[in-house]
Symmetry: C2
Subunit: 135 residues, 2 copies
């Protein structure tokens, strides 16, 4: 009696296509407004609501991920390979760290808890090279 995950279909939208393209082409981990400002010249009548609605859809599709970095606002990234984040406490910059040292970590936890683990996140907090110099 297992429930089949229903595969919702979404209609094509130029705005959403562009949104994903931008997310995929940037090294940043943009906020909603950053994305909005970036798209605005191309879509003069774009609204923030549309950005948020499409981000939600892309997240549901599993191609975009929301990041909680302790800020008051959300950041987003196009989901690619698993990676970790280096979050600077001074300037808030998030840098990806591609190499995976601990691919076996999920299994390790699975063995010792009664929790169905789908994935994990590892974030490192500290000071980035740029900020270290500053007083």
């Amino acid at each position: 009696m297992k429930k089949i995950t229903l595969k919702k279909t979404y209609r094509y939208s130029r705005q959403r296509e562009r949104l994903l393209a931008i997310l995929r082409s940037t090294e940043n981990h943009p906020t909603a407004i950053w994305l909005y400002d970036w798209m605005k010249p191309e879509f003069p009548s774009l609204s923030l609501g549309t950005v948020y609605r499409n981000l939600a859809i892309l997240i549901e599709q599993g191609v975009v991920r929301k990041i909680d970095a302790g800020s008051t606002f959300d950041r987003f990234e196009a989901k690619t390979s698993p990676h970790y984040h280096l979050i600077c406490r001074k300037c808030g910059t998030i840098t990806d760290f591609e190499k995976r040292f601990f691919p076996e970590i999920d299994d390790e936890i699975r063995r010792s808890t009664d929790f169905t683990i789908e994935g994990h996140r590892i974030d490192f907090f500290g000071t980035c090279a740029d900020c270290r110099g500053k007083s």
Copy 2:
């Protein structure tokens, strides 16, 4: 020419003392309102602003930590030993996972980046035992 970390002193407050005591005595990872509701009987004129202000102070003192669990609201915990979180995607419950499998992880990253690492967090996402049964 290194800047000395200034040690700000805080005046005693019954509300703050109680707040910390509650945070330390609970297994939950409470929200601000949960704490507010819990304290209200003892401090009938308590305001939410006071809860938030004191949480900020306790965080600055390093005895309380804010948790980003993907919700729209913040959760808090009294900082004790380092541990990981199991976050249930269905009910939002956060369970502590005390055992540390990877104490050496910070050093491992330090060796390969130009980032001053102060600490890290590891959160696991999935479904808790209670929610697994539900359709």
